[in-house]
Amino acid sequence: MHMGDALISPQVGGTMLAAAVGVSAYSIKKVKEMDEKKLPLMGVMAAFVFAAQMINFTIPGTGSSGHLGGGLLLAILLGPYAGFLSMAAILLIQVMFFADGGYLAFGCNMINMGLYSCFIAYPLIYKLITKTKMSKTRITIGSIAASIVALQLGAFSVVLQTMLSGKTELPFTEFVVAMQGIHLAIGLVEGIVTAAVVSFVWKVRPDIIADDQLHTNKGGYKKIIIGFLVTAVVLGGLVSLFASSNPDGLEWSIEKVARGELQGETQVHKALEKVQEKTALLPDYSFKDSSEDGAAGTVVSGIVGSVITVGIIAAIGFVIKLLKRNTHRQTN
């Protein structure tokens, strides 16, 4: 569900980034009160979720696949504040080294994949179900419910951010329906996987999942860390043999939309087009209703100009390379 830069406008990206930074600053303030031994645990957990996110699991019957978000799992084990920060670290590494998501869309991804799970689904749904009594059933139900809600909110955010940016032609209604639908299934699976991991932790070290975040344990976090590294290795190493090559939820939604109705432009589409027309700085392209002779000329000159521009750039690159080779030879 990582959003790329190409679909985001600077305004949407900037606003989301500002919101994400605000939430991060608040989380950091809260995390500083925690004991520092948890920092390696945060790093290990983040690496574990990172590995898990690389494995796509196929969702039966849909021809699509999803991957673990991890926000809810991080929130349950590290608390909402540390969980949100770990998610941010994962997303930053993914942007920088794997181009999974983008710099402009970083704020959007932090909100879509971190905020809803850590600050809405976790406290309002998961904690509500498990507060009075902890049991395997409650953990499972809580995880599934929280995951589904978190992913629904995240998927809807993706749609809103995409439509508001106006870089795509996707029709709103069909897009929303497809996105919400596929992420319902993904949320269910994520809830089950999260529940499995949390149940294990709860059996071995229940104090880790205590409500009281300041509750420290002299025994250390060894067993928990071991357990996570095991699961991380399983996911990262062996399960990847079965990693799904099907398109992920967003792609599947778009594919589904294509097969559906294409007639009838929605109100949102028309409105967005108007906005786009007004903001287009250089409307070089003419459309069918304005039949000007200059139209063909503009497009042709565009092509000519492009060829020359790219040619100049290539020449510049070549010249620099030549100069480098000459200076290198001279210094020998």
Partner: protein
Amino acid sequence: MADIIGSIVEVKHIDELSKKKNPINNMHPLIKLILTLAYICILASFSRYEVVGLLPFILYPVIVMVVCDIPSGKILKRVLVIEPFIVFAGILNPVFDRSVVEIGELSFSAGWLTFLSLLIRSTLMVTAGFLLIATTGIDDIARTLSMLRVPSVFVLLFLLTYRYIFVLMDEAGRLVKAYHMRAPGQSGVKIKVWGSMVGQLLLRTFNRAQAIYQSMIFKGYNGRYSFYYSKSLKLWDIVYFTAWIIYMSAARVFNIPLLISNFVSRL
């Protein structure tokens, strides 16, 4: 599994590139970070129908790749991994967009323009992102984050996560490979072996992580990320930065390819 190990190796390789000595690598990392972000923002601010006006922005990655001797094949390979999704997202644009563009006798949906625009823009943005890492190692990135007043907790978490990922994947990859070399023809690992293998890996990885944390403590880790950055901001850095900003702004406001073609046609 091979895919994951392969991409981890690629990541390490891109990080290694940043250690080469050349004018851009030696530049202050803050300049490179701000330039990259400005580049991405300016590209994102174009209208979705803009295709030709995007082309002057190819100059930035070309110059960086040539000056820093970055093998274009490596970067392109990483970028191509991302392309399918963009293609998928945009391939329906010709269908969705109702407006039509005419060139002489041919008329085609304006959706092709948005699709092309999306393709060019995403390629340039992703390339710029990779080039930032290829010219600025992870340590410099962390220092830059600190310079931008990002709190130590986050910078340390970022660095720790990065390090642990390699630790984990490295061990896992070696174990799986060793197993497969002794078990030809098998696609997975036998359950009986798997238990002890993973347990072994677990202890090894955990001990290494524990050792990292302990050495941090012994070397005076106190929760704060302090750094010493020896390179100061030089005049050349500022000149480089200003030149690029002027070029990118000009390319944003004026449609340079069209200007060039108009100029040429008048000769």
